[in-house]
C-alpha cells in the first residue's frame, strides 16, 4: 500500500483551551484534527474549570512544516502560562495528499 510520511502532532493541554487550540491548528494550515478528554498530571499541577483535572489530547496529521510552525507558536504563546505538553512523531498515512 502506498503511504506518505507525515507528522503527527500531539498536544495535551488544559481542557479550557480546546476551542482555541483547534482554531490555532486550522489557522496554521492543518486539514483536520481529532480530540478527546484525558486525565493527567505533570510539572504544573494546574487545573481549572468546573471539572478539575480534565485535560484534552488533541492530534493532527499534517506536513512537517505546519507541525513545526505550530510547535513554535505553542511554545511561545501557551507554554509559559498553561499546563501543556506537545510532541511530534512520524506516521505513514494512506492518501497522504489529503492532509497537506
Amino acid at each position: 500500500m502506498h503511504t506518505t510520511v507525515l507528522s503527527l502532532l500531539t498536544i495535551i493541554a488544559e481542557a479550557v483551551l480546546k476551542e482555541r487550540l483547534i482554531a490555532e491548528l486550522m489557522q496554521a494550515g492543518a486539514t483536520g484534527y481529532t480530540v478527546w478528554d484525558v486525565e493527567g498530571d505533570g510539572s504544573r499541577r494546574l487545573r481549572s474549570g468546573d471539572a478539575p483535572g480534565e485535560n484534552i489530547r488533541l492530534e493532527t496529521i499534517t506536513s512537517f512544516e505546519v507541525a513545526d510552525k505550530l510547535l513554535e507558536k505553542l511554545a511561545h504563546n501557551y507554554f509559559p502560562h498553561y499546563a501543556m505538553i506537545a510532541y511530534t512523531s512520524d506516521v505513514h498515512v494512506v492518501r497522504g495528499d489529503k492532509y497537506v
Binding site: 488544559e14 479550557v16 483551551l17 482555541r20 494546574l46 487545573r47 481549572s48 474549570g49 468546573d50 471539572a51 478539575p52 480534565e54 511561545h76 504563546n77 501557551y78 509559559p80 502560562h81 498553561y82
Partner: protein, 330 residues
C-alpha cells in the same frame, strides 16, 4: 441563632456536603461521574429559572426594579472591594488579585439555592423574582475584575510573554452564552410564558425532586471542596481570612441594601448570600482564559474550599439572622 445553626447543620443538604468532604478525606473513590454532575447542574439551573419565571408572572414590574438596581450595584462594588483588599492588605500582584476578585464579584448558584431553601424552611421565603437577580449578578463582577486585571497587568509589564489578549467581545459572549446563563434566563422566560397552568404537569419533576437532587449535588461539591483542602497551606492564612471575612462584609452590605429597597427578610437574606458567595463555575474558565498569569490555586481554593463551605454552614444563617434583626426594626 444557635438553634438555627444547629438546624442548618442537621439538614440533609449540609450533611451530604459533609459526607462528600469525609469521603474525600478518607480517600474514598466516591465521586459523581463528570457527566452526571453536568446533567444535575442543568436540571438545577433550569428548575431554578422555571420556578422563578412562574413566580415572576405574578410580580409587578414596579416591585422588581429597585432590587434589580441594588443587585447591579453589588455587582460593581464586590469585585472592587475584593480587589482593593487583596492588593492592599494581601499584597497579591495585579493578576492574582483580579483573578480572585472576579470570583467574589460573581455568584454561586448553589449557595443561592441553599439560601432560598433555608429562608423557606424558616417560614420566610424570598421574593419570586430572586432568580432574576441571580442572573443580573452573575457576570458584571467577572468583567469588571478582568478589565482591571488586564489593564494593571499590562501596566505592571507582567504580561510580557502573554499570548495576544483575547478580544473583550469574546469574553463577554462566553459568559452571556454560558450554560448557566442560558438555563437561568431561558428557564425564567419559559416559566414566565407558561405560567402556573403550563408549569403544573412538569412540577413533580422540577419541584418535587429539587431538594433530593440538590442533596446528591452537594455530596459531590463536598468531594470537590475537599480535593482543594490540601491547597489551604499553599494559599496562606491571609486568603483563608479573606474567604471568611469578605463574604461577611459583602453579605451584611447586601442585606442592608435589600432592606433599604424594601425587600422582605427572606429576600434580603438571600441577596446577602448571593453577594457573599464566590463563583466556582462561571468565573474559573473565564479567568483562566483571559488572565493566565493568575494562579488558579488561589482563586479555586478560596472560592470552593473556604467561602462555599463557610456560607453553607454559617454564612447563610448569619445573613438571615441579620436580615431578621433589621426587619424587626433593627
Amino acid at each position: 441563632m444557635f438553634n438555627t445553626l444547629q438546624q442548618n447543620f442537621c439538614s440533609p443538604l449540609t450533611l451530604a456536603f459533609g459526607l462528600g468532604i469525609v469521603a474525600k478525606l478518607i480517600r474514598s473513590d466516591l465521586a459523581l461521574p463528570r457527566d452526571a454532575y453536568s446533567t444535575l447542574s442543568i436540571y438545577l439551573l433550569l428548575a431554578l429559572g422555571l420556578k422563578g419565571g412562574v413566580e415572576l408572572s405574578h410580580a409587578a414590574l414596579s416591585e422588581v426594579w429597585a432590587p434589580a438596581l441594588a443587585t447591579l450595584a453589588l455587582g460593581v462594588i464586590t469585585p472592587l472591594t475584593s480587589y482593593a483588599v487583596l492588593r492592599k492588605f494581601g499584597r497579591f500582584d495585579a493578576a492574582d488579585a483580579a483573578g480572585i476578585a472576579a470570583h467574589y464579584g460573581s455568584v454561586s448558584a448553589v449557595t443561592f439555592i441553599a439560601a432560598q431553601q433555608f429562608a423557606l424552611s424558616q417560614g420566610m421565603p424570598a421574593e419570586g423574582y430572586m432568580s432574576t437577580l441571580l442572573t443580573l449578578l452573575e457576570s458584571p463582577g467577572i468583567h469588571i475584575a478582568l478589565l482591571i486585571g488586564a489593564l494593571q497587568s499590562s501596566r505592571d509589564r507582567l504580561a510580557v510573554d502573554a499570548p495576544a489578549p483575547r478580544p473583550t467581545a469574546e469574553v463577554v459572549h462566553e459568559i452571556l452564552a454560558s450554560r448557566s446563563m442560558v438555563l437561568l434566563v431561558g428557564g425564567l422566560v419559559i416559566g414566565y410564558l407558561t405560567g402556573p397552568t403550563g408549569y403544573e404537569p412538569v412540577k413533580p419533576f422540577f419541584e418535587g425532586l429539587f431538594k433530593g437532587v440538590l442533596t446528591i449535588f452537594l455530596l459531590e461539591m463536598g468531594v470537590m471542596a475537599a480535593a482543594r483542602l490540601g491547597d489551604l497551606r499553599a494559599v496562606g492564612v491571609f486568603l483563608i481570612g479573606f474567604g471568611i471575612l469578605m463574604p461577611i462584609f459583602h453579605g451584611a452590605l447586601a442585606v442592608m441594601l435589600g432592606h433599604a429597597v424594601g425587600m422582605s427578610v427572606g429576600g434580603s437574606a438571600v441577596l446577602g448570600a448571593m453577594a457573599a458567595s464566590a463563583s466556582y463555575i462561571a468565573a474559573p474558565p473565564a479567568v483562566r482564559m483571559t488572565l493566565p498569569q493568575a494562579n488558579p490555586t488561589y482563586y479555586l481554593t478560596a472560592s470552593l474550599a473556604i467561602t462555599f463551605p463557610f456560607n453553607l454552614l454559617a454564612g447563610i444563617p448569619l445573613y438571615f439572622a441579620f436580615a431578621r434583626w433589621l426587619g424587626s426594626g433593627g
